[in-house]
């Protein structure tokens, strides 16, 4: 066999293996989609069926009757969008300071900030809730986003990104009379864009899936976010899986779109980090 033919065989094998792994990863979503099209008897049929007999929107209709999903998706888009944008801005600015500036107490400050990552979010929910209640802003978008406008992870992540830039670049720019902020937005920012993009996607998906905080701080149906909306389809005693899966498909769609849009950035950002440490 010529080396070219060998290579072709090798690529074919890789391709087949990839398809198999992709199927394993996608299986839950495919199954979720199929179940969302099934009738009740199909869902409970034995042996279990993978494919629905026919494409049907009945479960979607039921889900939309039980809960206003488009409103939930809109709420989640607002909340996740604001949180993501805010964390990218605050993370990039703070990370830039920690990476490039020299000031007394920098390491102590950075360590304290990192230490907050060890506190489980459930532990501070009540304290946050009391603050929000005192301000009288329960059941508002402000209450939903305020605690998540900045995060230690974002700052840490951005600091690492800025540290990967050669320090000489920064010093040379300052010597040439560039201001610190000008360096940030005209030199640093373009260079860390992949890392910032990755952070954005991560933050978006993370806030998209929040459950506890929105549950506690928001009271009315029109302010609910998607995960709680999905919970509205589940019974305390037993669950009707068709509409639940239909709801899951509906709230999955925006996050898949965000991921597809940001995928290039994510992959670039992750590999950039991996190579440079």
């Amino acid at each position: 066999m010529s080396s070219k033919a060998k290579r072709r065989v090798f690529l074919t094998i890789i391709f087949i293996v990839n398809v198999i792994f992709a199927f394993i990863v996608l299986f839950p979503i495919l199954y979720c989609f199929n179940v969302s099209n099934m009738t009740k008897t199909e869902i409970y049929a034995y042996p279990p069926q993978f494919f629905a007999r026919a494409f049907s929107l009945d479960n979607y209709r039921t889900a939309l009757q039980l809960a206003p999903f488009f409103r939930f998706i809109l709420n989640s888009l607002i909340v996740s969008g604001v949180c993501t944008a805010a964390q990218m801005v605050t993370g990039a600015l703070a990370g830039y300071c920690f990476a490039m500036f020299e000031f007394s107490g920098k390491n102590v400050l950075f360590t304290i900030m990192l230490a907050t990552m060890m506190i489980p979010s459930q532990a501070i929910i009540i304290a946050n809730y009391l603050t929000i209640s005192q301000w009288g802003i329960n059941n508002t978008y402000a209450a939903l986003v305020l605690p998540y406008l900045a995060s230690a992870f974002a700052v840490f992540n951005m600091r690492q990104a800025f540290l990967s830039l050669p320090r000489e670049l920064y010093e040379a720019a300052l010597v040439d009379g560039c201001t610190r902020f000008k360096f940030f937005y005209s030199v640093g920012f373009p260079l860390i864009k992949p890392a910032l993009g990755a952070l954005g996607i991560y933050t978006f998906l993370d806030t998209w899936n929040y459950y506890m905080w929105p549950l506690i701080v928001v009271n009315t149906v029109d302010m609910r976010t998607v995960q709680i909306g999905l919970g509205m389809l589940q019974g305390s005693e037993s669950t009707n899986f068709g509409p639940v899966m239909a709801g899951a498909m509906m709230i999955l769609l925006p996050s898949i779109i965000i991921f597809v849009i940001g995928q290039k950035q994510l992959v670039e950002g992750l590999t950039a980090g991996a190579v440079k440490g």
Binding site: Y44, S133, G235, S238
Partner: protein, 359 residues
């Protein structure tokens, strides 16, 4: 009661729904019939001193109505039912407007309550649906008005509430909450499988011995993979203790004081229940689908299991989801258990939701 079979159970459910309707239907001017009497229950809150404080803090909207907030855990079909009851009430009079708000599952509501309790009364709902096991928690919060205090001011007839249900929500001699959705575990069986196994499809097994015999017959006829199954679920254990007429905890299950220890290890109830269950599993005629109740339900709906024990609350789902005819019977009992005493199975309580009025 047990002898009357499932029809009585259905009656129990209907009864609690009626109570809910009556409870929700409070405030209107009508004064006849059950719902008429209860009508005043919520409105009557304003006539008691404690509650009037709460109502004055409630801002009346443009139309001059008192706005009340009602937190509940009813989703899906039950959620629509609760909303329908609330709508009926809101349309029945023009003094009070109730905002019914779904706040997540039972545990979620309790979490929200805990948070709201710490931040002061502003964030608290006026009425909350709390699950049965949260009864003591609500009483201990010190912020609830016992519903019994409103009976006298509103002329509501407490005898319309089943005694056994009333007794569950009575702490320190006072009924604290209004039952809304009381459910109990019962036996569900596959009538088609019974027929195939040569059993009488109209006769549900009543004792564990009969369950074992029927399970054997079903399995040997090949009608189902397993004759019987039940989820590993604390509620069933608790309820079976009740069928034995034994206490779960000391101080009369916490009615005469705080529970300081469990009793089922001392009174032999746990051993008896576990031995029986183990015997069923060892016989090979019972399956084990783990701790998630939904998994056992799925196996039953799929025709893999001939009999399961489950909450009365899943009846509608069971009928909708299975392709065979569903039969129901009482939670099987031990043949040597006290017969039908006041505290037998019928006093089951765990899943009962109830509404409580908050200050």
């Amino acid at each position: 009661m047990r002898k009357n079979g499932t029809r009585v159970l259905a009656g129990v459910l209907a009864g609690t729904m009626a109570a809910a309707l009556a409870g929700c239907g409070s405030g209107s001017g009508s004064s006849t019939g059950t719902s008429g009497t209860t009508t005043k229950a919520a409105a009557g809150a304003t006539t008691t001193t404690v509650a009037s404080g709460a109502s004055t803090t409630k801002s009346a909207d443009a139309s001059g109505k008192i706005q009340l907030t009602f937190w509940h855990s009813m989703s899906e079909a039950n959620g629509q039912a609760v909303q329908a009851l609330v709508d009926d009430f809101n349309n029945s009079q023009d003094e009070i407007y109730v905002n019914a708000e779904y706040q997540g599952k039972y545990d979620d509501v309790k979490t929200k309550m805990s948070a709201a309790l710490q931040s002061g009364k502003d964030q608290l709902p006026d009425i909350v649906q709390m699950y049965d096991i949260g009864t003591k928690y609500m009483v201990d919060s010190g912020l609830v008005i016992p519903v019994e205090d409103m009976f006298s001011t509103t002329g509501y007839d407490p005898n319309t509430i089943m005694g056994i249900v009333k007794s569950y929500y009575t702490v320190d001699g006072k009924q604290y909450s209004m039952p809304l959705n009381v459910s109990t575990p019962m036996l569900y069986y596959n009538k088609d499988a019974f027929k195939k196994a040569g059993l009488d499809p109209e006769k549900a097994p009543t004792t564990w011995e009969e369950v074992k015999e029927d399970a054997k017959a079903i399995q040997e006829s090949g009608a189902c993979r397993y004759g019987y199954a039940q989820a590993i679920y604390g509620w069933f254990f608790e309820q079976e203790i009740a069928t034995l007429g034994q206490d779960y905890g000391d101080n009369e299950n916490g009615r005469s004081g705080n529970v300081t220890k469990v009793m089922w290890n001392e009174n032999g109830a746990a051993k008896k229940i576990m031995d029986n269950w183990m015997d069923l599993l060892n016989s090979g005629y019972a399956g084990n689908y783990g701790q998630v109740t939904g998994d056992t339900q799925t196996a039953f709906f799929a025709g893999q299991v001939g009999m399961i024990i489950e909450s009365t609350a899943i009846l509608r789902n069971a009928i909708n989801n299975s392709q065979f005819e569903i039969g129901t019977g009482y939670l099987p009992r031990f043949s040597d258990a006290p017969d039908d005493g006041g505290r037998a199975v019928d006093l089951r309580h765990h899943r009962a939701g109830s509404r409580q009025r908050i200050l």
